[in-house]
Symmetry: C2
Subunit: 439 residues, 2 copies
């Protein structure tokens, strides 16, 4: 369309030359007879100086968002974004915007909790703010760095169906739909499919939309979110913890390497993580927390939200780690596919990975022995092995599954914690909760 | 779990050494007092020779799928898979399989159309056949090579919601669900969201599940499939065709580079594609087809299935290309968001990309001017601009959208054609159609 268009990121290599740039009018400012335009393209912002305000007359009656093609000279100018300014511009209005935008595109919308509805109501335009869109460049890099790490470690990416005959893990939080007159549900998790796929490729992962009919609109939950599911065979609990720890460390490092300007725009702080993320038992955390906080959590079966925050502070100071693996969870709280510890049947071989005060990942070894799995299915979930929702899953075990384990991790929540956002929805392009289905 | 396990792919570098391998019993064969075992791990097959059939007694009463750990000496043996055999094995039964498998795991199930139900009913176990699983290594590489190509060309990956308040493009083929007492639908396409995202990042793509309530169970259709959505701003029709042609060529080359053994197992033939894929008009194809086939399709508004096959044969012979872009489609058949050709308003700037006899990709320039888009929405789709399903989409245009275009492409269908499978479902791990919701 435009021959030899130059992107904002390429201007530095074109100082002194006449170039053509293209993008959206981001901001217009008049100052002592001069007009400064900021043009946004896919790489960033470009300042254009119209020193006699002559060309800018073409913008009369037009608003930010107007699509422009600008020809002009590239000049170094320390005070401009990227240290570059375009002088002696010739403007071509490619697409005029004749409506006053409902928000100021060059100013990020407030992320305060009471303003989130406004943030999302104006999302389509609000995302054009470069600080806002930075969140989704970071999210894309979180995804990419996960994929790179997992592929490097021999994992095969797959996609499992989200339309199911029954719900995988039961519970009320399942969306139901009409499937040609038959009942169907939307997948709440890829749990069964990823385990089945261990029988095929040993090491698999899926990055997939996940659906939960959550009746509450909290800062932690959405009804649709992107989920990483990882599963691997021929591994033990220690090996599982090790690889997931390395993955978290590598993701944070890669994101900082590839998205530093975006992270800096949010004043994000690089996570402190050691080579090996510390592993603590639930009992040990209860004990230390109770001693330090004049609280009594000893014997509790879960961590309190305040304990999750506290233990991350503690681990940061004590071990130089903003993340902690929590192990030795009571068997009474396990899911039917979890595996009991061989030596101590009162605990299950599962973990929570707590990062910056919140659980970002849960993982476990899975019961891989057919007989034991059926017993746990009946005893712990009241499940019928002949139910089609379980039948195919159990086939994998009937015909040989190795010791295996895996994890699940929400992408928006991890991105939220990496950036330091307060609500998981801020890390979702078009979030969904019980009150929101649009835009 | 197993210290210093060696994978099948690593055996070549361990000739003469004692190693530990692990995997599933794939096949057992007795021959003149000797027992040959084939063990499958994530990298391939390993032959184990138990020359006195002593150790193999441990396998008595056990069936394929049994999980084994084998220690033995790596010996070169041309007649074995990978040219390697394990001698003097010591067997450890890690997980015994005591049930007769319903299918022979070492033999691929038939893909004949009348046997597809059996293929999918036994999918969980059938995928353990190495030829069967090869399809999904190829599919994973199709996805990966797409992503690499698009990222290299500055595209940002995003994810749009699949839970919508209304259907994006109307029609009966939409799944409806209950969303906390309100009606909702599953996304039939990411069309509106990817266009909205052009306003944010200029170049975007999404690889996402897509839902169509197709009432027919054809060889081409599924109710849930993986779809590539690409959209880019500041481009013209020629530029769009160019980049998509390069993408197809690069995908096929990368897949052949990285999955040759898997493709060879299916007797796949590498696609013949020139540097520039030929572009033909609909009218020209009608004319040539009619002349060559004693048929009369001149003036028809679409290509007949037989024409799609014929034109690919023709282009292969004439231009050395198994793919053809078909342009100049009648305006009467366009969707409301398509763009009319500037010089000839009887045709729309859209294309079909036909590959090996089937349309694998449709693309178009989009109407980017707010006023014209609203008129087309009303005139062509009878749409109400105030309808929430359109309102947010139109906001993007109200506040400035550059000339842009994009494409959609089904991943299973592309994989099907690359391998040479006859039904798109063969390229889906767990296919869904109106009669199938399991496994």
């Amino acid at each position: 369309m435009i021959k030899s268009r130059v992107l904002s990121s390429e201007l530095k290599n074109n100082v002194g030359k006449n170039v053509v740039i293209a993008g959206w009018l981001y901001k217009k400012r008049e100052l002592g007879g001069m007009t400064f335009l900021i043009v946004r393209d896919r790489d960033g912002l470009i300042q254009v100086l119209d020193d006699k305000s002559k060309e800018s007359e073409k913008l009369k009656g037009l608003y930010p968002g107007t699509v422009l093609i600008v020809e002009g000279e590239v000049v170094e100018e320390k005070r401009a974004p990227g240290g570059i300014e375009i002088h002696d511009p010739k403007l071509k209005i490619e697409v005029p915007v004749e409506f006053v935008p409902p928000i100021e595109i060059d100013k990020p919308l407030s992320h305060d909790s009471e303003n989130l509805d406004t943030l999302f109501d104006y999302r389509v335009i609000g995302l054009r703010n470069v600080k806002e869109s930075a969140v989704f460049k970071i999210l894309a890099e979180v995804k990419d760095s996960m994929r790179r790490f997992l592929k490097k470690n021999d994992f095969v990416e797959f996609n499992s169906p989200k339309l199911l005959a029954g719900s995988t893990e039961g519970g009320a939080e399942v969306f139901k739909l009409d499937y040609f007159g038959k009942p169907a549900t939307l997948a709440q998790s890829a749990q069964f499919y990823k385990q089945i796929m261990v029988g095929v490729f040993e090491r698999v992962f899926e990055i997939n939309p996940t659906y939960r009919a959550e009746r509450s609109a909290t800062t932690r939950h959405m009804t649709e979110f992107m989920h990483l599911d990882v599963e691997m065979g021929f591994i033990d609990f220690e090996g599982l913890i090790n690889i997931i720890g390395r993955m978290l460390k590598e993701i944070t490092e890669q994101v900082w390497e590839n998205c530093e300007p975006e992270l800096v725009s949010w004043e994000a702080v690089k996570p402190v993580l050691p080579e090996e993320i510390p592993v603590m038992t639930l009992a040990d955390i209860h004990e230390k927390y109770s001693a330090a906080n004049e609280q009594q959590t000893i014997g509790e079966k879960d961590l309190r939200p305040d304990e999750e925050r506290w233990i991350c502070e503690y681990a940061k100071e004590k071990f130089g780690s903003e993340a902690v693996f929590v192990i030795e969870w009571p068997a009474s709280e396990m899911k039917f596919y979890h595996k009991l510890n061989e030596k101590n049947p009162n605990i299950a071989d599962r973990f929570d990975l707590i990062f910056r005060g919140v659980e970002i990942c849960t993982g476990s070894m899975r019961e891989h022995r057919y007989d034991k799995l059926i017993r746990q299915l009946k005893d712990l979930a009241g499940g019928d092995p002949e139910n089609p929702g379980f039948k195919y899953y159990l086939q994998a075990f009937q015909f040989g599954m190795p010791p295996h384990g895996g994890v699940g991790m929400g992408l928006e929540r991890l991105t939220q914690k990496i950036i330091g956002l307060s609500n998981v929805k801020e890390a979702s392009l078009f979030p969904r909760d019980m009150n929101r289905l649009a835009p």
